[in-house]
């Protein structure tokens, strides 16, 4: 096992973590401020990916495809929030689970009706090749782009939440919604916008991961659970927690999947190692969450006062 392999996998882990963060950011705010379990958050990721693939094919430009998908998904998210999800905030968690589960069925099958079961989406040709990061270390240019966009958006979101008036209102809402409302914050209107931003971030993640994974119906379901794990680890309602949680989960998952196999090969027969590695890696994320909950039941960065 070379140092370069570790470095490369660490970059992959960071990249996956940043994409998880884009999903988790919206989810944690909806969960933290509105106390709403939104299982359909992963569907926005899927919708974003499909729109990006469709628009990229239509315009011939990946950039136009992604930008268009982000804008359309944001509008779609806001319409969804104002039209349906808003009525669910006051309901119990069970009703929210049933309604958003229903929404997954509708959005999955609706996407299938419009676009079919999957759409092709590939990275722009200019970014198809590798870049030499260090002498001897080649890294795919497209993954580097994801890394850059992820970091830039994380920074932008941090500025938005920490330095703007709207961010202060969102933080106030996450810390104590009743008090924020009593002080005159129009939480419902604020939340339609927050939801739109969350949906846009989902679309960015879906569009950027599309060429690496696959743009297909049901792609939101598995990543949704990882996003929930991220926000539980980070502390529900906390953007900072979501970032730390996402990078931890991305690192554990990616490093576990690849490096663990190499380590296990030292002790186990190869076929055992290649079977046990990914299994332990997938489980490790959940074990980590259970440990965090056992030690810090409110997550690493609790938002609620």
């Amino acid at each position: 096992m070379s140092g370069f392999l570790v470095l490369e996998q660490a970059l992959n882990g960071l990249q996956f973590g940043l994409m998880l963060f884009l999903l988790a950011a919206g989810l944690t705010l909806v969960f933290g401020v509105m106390d709403m379990i939104n299982l359909a958050h992963g569907s926005l990721y899927m919708v974003g990916a499909f729109l990006a693939a469709w628009l990229t094919a239509l315009t011939g430009s990946f950039v136009l495809g992604v930008v268009g998908a982000v804008a359309l998904t944001a509008i779609f998210g806001m319409a969804l929030e104002a039209g349906l999800l808003r009525t669910l905030y006051a309901r119990d968690h069970l009703s929210q689970v049933l309604a958003t589960f229903a929404l997954i069925l509708i959005l999955n099958d609706g996407t299938k009706m419009i676009f079919g079961n999957d759409l092709p989406l590939s990275a722009p040709a200019a970014l198809a090749g590798p870049v030499e990061l260090l002498p001897g270390l080649q890294y795919p240019a497209y993954r580097l782009l994801i890394l850059g966009v992820g970091l830039a958006l994380a920074l932008l979101l941090w500025l938005l939440v920490q330095k703007t008036r709207m961010g202060a209102l969102v933080r106030a809402g996450a810390s104590n919604r009743e008090m924020a409302t009593a002080m005159g914050t129009d939480i419902p209107r604020l939340f339609t916008i927050v939801f739109g931003i969350g949906a846009a971030l989902c679309a960015v993640a879906g569009a950027l991961l599309g060429p690496l994974l696959a743009v297909q119906v049901g792609m939101g379901e598995n990543i949704l659970i990882l996003a929930f794990v991220v926000i539980v680890i980070g502390g529900i309602g906390s953007i900072r927690g979501a970032l730390v949680g996402a990078i931890l989960v991305g690192a554990i998952d990616t490093l576990g999947r690849t490096l663990l196999q190499h380590v296990l090969r030292e002790f186990l027969p190869p076929q055992w190692a290649s079977a046990a590695g990914p299994a332990i890696a997938s489980i490790a994320v959940y074990v980590f969450m259970a440990i965090v909950l056992a030690i810090r039941p409110q997550g690493l960065f609790p938002a609620r006062a």
């Binding site: 049933l98 309604a99 229903a102 929930f228 794990v229």
Partner: protein, 332 residues
């Protein structure tokens, strides 16, 4: 939460006769179903009926945890899956005895529920939801990685559970046998659930569901009571899994996928949380709806979603709640 139950209890004396008659009719219809289907040449639907009964058992076991115990478990598929895998693995290893399958299923799914419950019940609220989900996910990935038993492709079995006692043999490969066995398990589960709510134990569980701080102050061992409910429900879920393997002859990690836990939750909420019939009604309505839609459209899921959404928005207590409100006069 308790209003319909109270109304029902108060209305019970003068409606007892009606209840008994309705139950007798339902029981007779369920018993005669294979014969009725045969008479109309619809034998094909017996496996659908069995599937409804098996799902009803799983949903009823979840309703015990979720409705009566107030524990929003988002990982109930874990126990159904454990039961399914235990039975499938035993059969694939050559153990034919249904009694062995049953005992092993009960023991291992109860043990799984004991471990998962003991840890999860230390958390509450949304954290309980997430940690039960996390345990189910661990088992999902574990099942995916065990290549010896099919891995992600699943495990097919050629024979089924065989109950032999003296000269008397019951082979669950027979469609009638599995239907009646599943029906018997469901009837026992519903009977136990109906007896549970008014019992001393049941009242204690309902008390701590409604206000666990008060229940604890009154001296109830809340943690232990909840754990008992969780384990019993896990064992019953395991039996549902064992039956589903016998019905389908196949098990795959998908029985452990989180959308399965979600489907069971949807059935309970759709039917009626904390109602005896909720699990059965939810399972029957959802599976029949899917079956009917599949006959007319390729996009059954789409329309199923709209129906579920309509239920959330317009039938807040679930279908059983709506029916009871119509049937029983409002007393409170």
């Amino acid at each position: 939460m308790t209003a319909p139950a109270d109304a029902r209890a108060a209305a019970a004396p003068n409606r007892l006769g009606l209840h008994v008659a309705a139950l007798a009719l339902l029981g007779a219809a369920a018993l005669a179903l294979p014969w009725l289907l045969g008479a109309f040449g619809l034998d094909f639907y017996l496996s659908l009926a069995t599937r409804i009964v098996v799902y009803a058992i799983a949903a009823t076991s979840l309703n015990l945890v979720l409705g009566y115990g107030g524990m929003v478990s988002f990982g109930h598929a874990a126990f159904v899956g454990v039961g399914a895998y235990v039975t499938a693995v035993l059969i694939s290893e050559g153990t034919q005895s249904g009694f062995v399958h049953l005992v092993a299923t009960l023991a291992i799914s109860a043990l799984a529920a004991l471990v998962i419950g003991a840890i999860s019940l230390r958390t509450r609220g949304v954290y309980f939801i997430m940690i039960t989900l996390a345990f189910a996910q661990m088992l999902f990935y574990l099942a995916n990685s065990v290549k010896g038993y099919g891995g992600d492709e699943g495990l097919s079995i050629r024979t089924r559970s065989l109950f032999a006692l003296g000269g008397w043999v019951l082979d669950l490969k027979q469609p009638l046998a599995i239907y009646y066995v599943a029906l018997g398990v469901l009837a026992l589960a519903l009977l136990a659930l109906a007896r549970f709510a008014p019992s001393r134990f049941g009242r204690a569980v309902l008390a701590l569901r409604d206000d666990d701080v008060r229940a604890e102050a009154l001296g109830f061992a809340t943690y232990r009571l909840k754990l008992v409910v969780f384990v019993v429900a896990g064992a019953l879920g395991g039996v549902a899994g064992a039956l589903s393997v016998n019905l389908q002859g196949y098990v795959s990690p998908n029985v452990l996928h989180w959308t399965q836990s979600g489907t069971l939750m949807v059935m309970v909420i759709l039917g009626g949380v904390a109602t005896v019939w909720g699990g059965l009604v939810g399972a029957a309505v959802l599976l029949l709806l899917q079956e009917v839609l599949a006959a007319y459209t390729e996009h059954g899921e789409f329309w199923t979603g709209w129906v579920l959404l309509g239920v959330v928005l317009f039938a807040r207590r679930g279908l059983v709640g709506v029916l009871l409100r119509r049937a029983a006069p409002r007393l409170s």
